[in-house]
């Protein structure tokens, strides 16, 4: 299935928004973490600044999220990973409460209790987890619910190529195939699991080759390209919606930044990092759209401005929101 102009522009705008979000977050995250901490003998104080804790950014991986989410509706479920922002944004999670959550504010998605790796938006049916491989079982659950309730909803579980070796992944693939659940399993291969390259962690080149072992289609997307992802997954979505069961998709993508912000990346060849942005999928799609006459320079400028504005507004909202009162820590163990 080919993407129409509307879908193409949507994917472009979402990719611009995600990239702008991640770059803004990358710089805001450093606030308060560098000097004067350096004088105190710290290179970096992970716990200070407006956005504390770990921060995993997905700059470079936008095509995976938008190419898939362009097929989804609000009732479809997405379960993301510890690197969740691109999935959340592509699924339609509103930026303001999402950002407020990362600032630990009471206006956040989880009232400041979850943070960056634990974003829950039941309205847009998005969730994620800090545990590797943990996205697949709940996606099976969402798929089972859709099936039992007679809906044509699908569930998408995103996971990294590192997670592909986790037990929960294999169990979920089997269960979904056995019960013919409407689940799309999407392996995002950015080649690295923190410092461990795929070549030292996985005995085969394509995780998607494992699909046949479970009795489901395996789809390989060789380029970090939103249109390629969109077109390749269309049959999997149609299959799931029509009750024919799950599919396993693998997309080759690139992690532009460190595993987490502040990662010294001692393990990664410097030339790899320097070369990654040469194939940046965002300007590439812009060029394609323009040469096909589907986007004018003025439209492009408007898209970029709109996306930036949404990000700016979200960060401004997060900054000016209040922190929860300390005693609120004691609420919500039971609803």
């Amino acid at each position: 299935m080919q993407a129409n102009k509307e879908k193409l522009l949507w994917m472009y705008e979402k990719m611009v928004e995600i990239r702008n979000y991640e770059e803004t977050m990358a710089s805001v995250y450093l606030e308060g973490k560098l000097p004067p901490n350096i004088q105190q003998g710290l290179a970096f104080d992970i716990g200070s600044g407006p956005v504390p804790g770990e921060m995993h950014l997905a700059a470079g991986q936008e095509p995976v999220a938008v190419g898939i989410c362009a097929h989804l509706k609000q009732e479809d479920t997405v379960v993301g990973t510890h690197r969740p922002h691109h999935f959340a944004i592509a699924k339609g999670v509103p930026l303001t409460p999402m950002t407020a959550e990362m600032f630990g504010k009471v206006t956040g998605l989880g009232k400041g209790k979850g943070g960056h790796m634990h974003l829950f938006d039941p309205v847009h049916k998005f969730s994620c987890s800090g545990l590797i491989g943990a996205s697949l079982p709940p996606a099976c659950g969402a798929g089972l619910a859709a099936k039992k309730m007679g809906k044509d909803w699908v569930a998408v579980a995103f996971f990294g190529e590192g997670a592909a070796n986790q037990g929960a992944v294999h169990e979920s693939l089997n269960l979904a195939a056995l019960w013919q659940l409407p689940v799309i399993f999407v392996c995002e291969d950015n080649k690295w699991a923190i410092s461990v390259p795929k070549t030292s962690a996985t005995s085969i080149e394509w995780v998607a080759d494992r699909a046949s072992a479970y009795g489901m289609p395996g789809i390989k997307v060789a380029h970090n390209d939103a249109v390629e992802v969109y077109e390749a997954v269309a049959p999997a979505i149609a299959r799931a919606r029509s009750g024919k069961g799950p599919s396993l998709i693998e997309v080759k993508t690139d992690r532009y930044l460190g595993h987490f912000q502040g990662d010294p990346e001692v393990y990664r060849p410097k030339d790899e990092v320097a070369n990654l942005r040469k194939n940046d999928p965002i300007p590439k799609l812009a060029t394609q759209l323009k040469s096909a006459g589907q986007m004018t320079d003025a439209e492009e400028a408007a898209i970029v401005a709109r996306a930036r504005q949404r990000v700016t507004d979200a960060f401004a909202f997060a900054r000016k929101s209040d922190y929860p009162a300390p005693q609120e820590a004691l609420q919500h163990v039971f609803a």
Partner: protein, 346 residues
């Protein structure tokens, strides 16, 4: 004479592992990012260069497989050290830990030795939220079959790690991120200290009085030791003399040291970063309660711990649930004012 120099806890742990690997070629390490990265918390820093990838093995993210592999390799005669970054992740491979590693020696009637060291990071305080901030040592100490070691400083960490590797039983070695001396995390001074170059061991089950006092005993461990020492300084200014007891290992537990100190001071505060209910604080309180015939209390026991909620992300919330220096001070003051009820031994 042996040279000493100041090391961080991370460096001390890596040194202990390296020296033991030199001494015994059956020792090897497995885990995620323990090679080039040197462990996310630095506990295997520099070891890959020294020993190569045959003995410093980066694993896939397959915890059930590699922790189970450690058990199997140990049963076959090797001495594996396996690291799983955060204790919060143990759930995914819990069966291999608590049904196999912890029980096989027993079920084999003592005929199998399982000299495995499992290492992992614990603790919060930097907004890493509910899935990356737990301590959980109480959970593992609760289940029989694992020795549980939780050091508070570099000197102890080296001696306890050497001891752990030489132990023929499974040992869970848990280090608090906030005292590893990481260049990217604030920490309480005191955990980096003088560490001898030469190898040494510290026996398990021997608590340490890290500060002498006469008015109350603070029983604690890990990063809470550093917090308690700061609290004790503060209390001193107010004329209160606090004794701080570092348990160092939970299994085995130095019950004698607890009773001895509480008998001396007559007051007990247990300060813990684990959850309150069914945990370390309850265990220590029960120990004292069971010995009230010999230990006279001047006030009821006090417990400080995480109040049975997951660790929240937001800074003010996290600060509220994890006991801080000021909470230890306040609890100690309350303890000094507290009186046992009428009719109880004073």
């Amino acid at each position: 004479m042996t040279t000493t120099r100041k090391l961080t806890m991370a460096q001390a742990i890596a040194e202990a592992i390296g020296q033991e690997m030199e001494r015994d070629n059956k020792v090897f390490v497995m885990g995620e990012d323990i090679g080039k990265y040197g462990g996310i918390f630095g506990a295997t820093g520099g070891l890959l260069d020294k020993f190569g990838p045959e003995r410093i093995m980066d694993t896939p993210i397959s915890e059930t497989a590699f922790i189970g592999t450690a058990t199997g390799a140990a049963a076959a005669g090797l001495r594996p050290i396996a690291e799983l970054m955060f204790v919060d992740f143990f759930g995914v491979c819990m069966d291999q830990i608590y049904n196999h590693l912890a029980k096989n020696t027993y079920m084999a009637g003592g005929n199998i030795k399982l000299p495995v060291v499992l290492t992992t990071a614990i603790g919060g305080g930097y907004s890493d939220a509910a899935q990356h901030s737990q301590c959980l040592y109480g959970t593992f100490a609760h289940m029989p079959g694992l020795k549980v070691v939780v050091p508070s400083n570099a000197y102890d960490a080296k001696g306890l790690m050497t001891q752990a590797i030489r132990d023929d039983n499974p040992v869970l070695f848990m280090y608090h991120k906030g005292i590893m001396g990481l260049p990217w995390m604030a920490y309480f001074e005191g955990s980096s200290n003088e560490v001898p170059q030469a190898q040494y061991t510290i026996p398990f089950g021997v608590a340490k009085v890290v500060r002498e006092g006469t008015d109350l005993t603070i029983v604690t461990l890990s990063q809470m030791v550093q917090k308690s020492l700061l609290a004790a300084e503060e209390l001193k200014k107010q004329g209160i003399s606090a004794e701080v007891l570092d348990l160092r290992t939970l299994v085995p537990l130095d019950r004698k040291a607890v009773l001895k100190s509480v008998a001396k001071t007559g007051r007990l505060l247990v300060a813990d970063e684990d959850y309150l209910s069914f945990g370390l604080t309850g265990e220590i309180a029960a120990l004292v309660a069971e010995n009230l015939d010999t230990v006279a209390l001047k006030a009821p026991v006090k417990r400080l711990a995480v109040p049975d909620v997951p660790i929240p992300y937001s800074r003010p919330l996290e600060k509220f649930v994890i006991p801080q220096v000021e909470n230890i001070v306040a609890a100690s003051q309350a303890l000094m004012k507290g009186r046992v009820a009428e009719g109880q031994p004073a």
